[in-house]
């Protein structure tokens, strides 16, 4: 494994193309990502179990993204956490699912493009209580519990051989800082994925990206990426982020995903798992070109984006 340090390459000004959605794409291909879920439940552990039950499909999705030109894969960890897997009675097996996810990404990378990087993507470890609306996970669970759960996931992924730690899908500023803190001791680049930013470029709960950048001072934080946000508000948040943060900025937008459609039927975004109003590749590619011009250095896709989106973004990000 003679990969150059991605941090050095970013410092030298290189741009990187990430992959697109993995959970949504494995769902599209018929993997069961709704284990135990019904119309009445929430999403539970989503695609965490697919890492073992549909390992071949997960690896194929990773390989397809590499074939389309992605330089960075996000492992399909996300909710391979004790807290999330507990919701379907598999909490005690979280390490198996987490290791399988890392293995799937690394095996796909090794098979397809040894120069590509694997980011260990980790969503918040424990589901929020139903009464936690507006409160941070740290407030609800206790900062130590939240931090330590992130730390055990990061520790497992570092040992499994990922190249980057990526705590992602985090809404509150306090939770972002705790998650980044949990990733400090592994001698790996730390990227942070901030979810659901608003049309005015603020964070999900109205906090500012300026305050986030301030809050992260003194820690290792190599990149902040706006994610799981539609392209328009992502663009607004990137403008704020570039003013606030002197590290690398990135983005991987959600283009329109409705994972519960098969069990809940017609939701806000319709009965289809990939929303009919999903942003097409050409539209995402226009944003990728704009962002590349603005020195956004890591660009990819989140839920509902597929290999076709990464193909379309590739010329803007990589020049060919």
């Amino acid at each position: 494994m003679a990969r150059a340090s991605i941090t050095d390459r970013l410092a030298a000004g290189e741009k990187f193309l990430m992959d697109g959605g993995t959970g949504s794409e494995v769902q599209r291909r018929g993997a069961d990502v709704l284990v135990g879920a019904t119309a009445e439940t929430e999403l539970l552990a989503w695609s965490a179990t697919a890492n073992i039950d549909y390992a071949d499909v997960v690896q194929q999705v990773h390989q397809d993204y590499l074939r389309c030109g992605a330089d960075v894969l996000i492992s399909n960890n996300f909710w391979t956490t004790r807290g999330r897997l507990d919701m379907i009675g598999l909490g005690d097996r979280w390490e198996e699912y987490a290791e399988a996810a890392a293995h799937n990404a690394i095996a796909a990378r090794d098979a397809m493009n040894e120069d590509a990087y694997v980011a260990g993507g980790m969503a918040p470890p424990i589901p929020k209580g139903r009464d936690s609306r507006g409160k941070s996970d740290c407030e609800v669970l206790g900062r130590d519990v939240y931090h330590d759960a992130y730390r055990e996931h990061a520790d497992l992924l570092a040992k499994a051989g990922v190249d980057i730690l990526l705590p992602e899908y985090i809404g509150h500023l306090e939770d972002c800082v705790a998650a980044v803190d949990a990733c400090q001791d592994f001698d790996l680049p730390v990227w942070l994925g901030v979810r659901h930013t608003n049309d005015d470029g603020s964070m999900q709960y109205g906090e500012s990206l300026h305050d986030l950048a301030d809050g992260l001072k003194g820690r290792r934080i190599d990149a902040i990426l706006i994610m799981c946000t539609r392209p328009d508000p992502t663009d607004a948040a990137l403008a704020k982020l570039r003013e606030a943060f002197d590290g690398v900025a990135g983005a991987y937008p959600n283009v329109g995903y409705n994972p519960m459609a098969p069990v809940r039927g017609r939701q806000r975004s319709g009965p289809d798992i990939i929303s009919p109003t999903a942003d097409p590749p050409s539209m995402v590619a226009e944003y990728a070109a704009k962002w590349a011009d603005e020195d956004v250095r890591i660009v990819g896709g989140c839920c509902a984006s597929g290999p076709e989106h990464i193909l379309a973004m590739r010329p803007a990000v990589k020049g060919s």
Binding site: G30, V57, R67, P271, I274, P280, S282, P307, E308, A312
Partner: protein
């Protein structure tokens, strides 16, 4: 190998679910389906070469369709024919590509669902413009179809499917030639006109039904036409044809979209822009509503053609 012949399976009554698009899905996953193709050349051999160069991806697409419930997969032969491979200098290797296409389908079937059927899908030689191809190519038209069908039978096809045929005379010649392989023959008729249910060149589907009388064809399927066109076409075809009727619509595929320079060839850009998948209104749920109508009208074989993916087949399965 399936325990029941496909004809017995059809006679058993329940409608058969086919797969969705293969070439378009390969395109989406980054397989090169535009070998030696430019905006000026036209489509050349399309996904024929992918059967060898991206055999793993072809097999994965087949497996994904069976995972979501397809009972029939169409092998990715289509243009593995001398006439088309000649456009990229590979005419002499047509048998290699044709065998590879069959082997990909059979291997995927054996791995995923031994009871599923492989239909050998073969597009016609010829340009199909002003006159039937059988008129311009003569015996060469019949020979290319008969040789291809025999090769596919040797490789384990369950049914031969001459498809993407336009003129009535070509339909008759194609089914007669394919029947020489000794397997059941289904016929796929392309480009139905939505406004008057006519065939591509304004011939009548009622005349097609009558003309096929006495020829060795078990099923006629309307294909590579939009769903509205298929609905109107089935109304004419069903009373006219004394056999099984089916449909697999094209939902909006523009294979050359990404090759056009918008500034140079704006008159040639696909109507909906530069995306090669242009689903428009044909979300999986909407497409499944059409399929439900067709089943109610008496269609017994349904699936998807270009631009449909596993998510469409999953949605169709739910209404069957």
């Amino acid at each position: 190998m399936p325990s029941l012949s496909i004809t017995d399976r059809l006679n058993a009554g329940a409608p058969l679910l086919m797969d969705g698009g293969t070439g378009s899905e390969l395109h989406r996953r980054g397989a090169n389906v535009l070998v030696d193709t430019t905006a000026e050349t036209g489509q050349q051999a399309w996904s024929a070469t992918a059967n060898i160069e991206f055999a793993d991806v072809v097999q994965q697409v087949h497996q994904d369709y069976m995972r979501v419930g397809a009972e029939v997969i169409i092998s990715n032969n289509f243009w593995t024919i001398p006439y088309r491979l000649a456009t990229i200098g590979l005419e002499d290797r047509w048998e290699d590509y044709a065998r590879a296409a069959m082997r990909n389908a059979v291997k995927a079937r054996d791995a995923q669902n031994p009871d599923a059927y492989v239909a050998a899908g073969i597009a016609p030689p010829g340009a199909g413009n002003d006159a039937p191809d059988v008129r311009s190519l003569g015996d060469e038209y019949r020979k290319q179809y008969a040789d291809h069908a025999k090769l596919c039978a040797e490789e384990g096809a369950d049914v031969i499917l001459p498809e993407y045929v336009g003129y009535i005379a070509d339909c008759i010649a194609a089914v007669d030639a394919c029947a020489e392989a000794g397997l059941p023959v289904w016929l796929g008729v392309r480009h139905i006109n939505a406004e008057d249910a006519s065939m591509q060149y304004r011939e009548s589907l009622a005349d097609l039904g009558a003309a096929l009388n006495g020829h060795p064809v078990d099923a006629v399927l309307l294909m590579c036409s939009n769903p509205q066109a298929i609905t109107t076409g089935l109304k004419v075809l069903i009373p006219a044809f004394d056999g099984v009727v089916g449909a697999y619509p094209n939902l909006g595929y523009a294979p050359l979209a990404q090759l056009y320079e918008p500034t140079m060839l704006s008159n040639q850009l696909p109507a909906d822009g530069s995306d090669f998948i242009q689903l428009g209104e044909y979300s999986p749920s909407r497409t499944a509503e059409f399929v439900k109508d067709w089943l109610d009208m008496g269609a017994r074989i349904v699936g998807g053609c270009c631009a449909s993916g596993p998510e469409h087949i999953m949605a169709m399965r739910a209404v069957m």
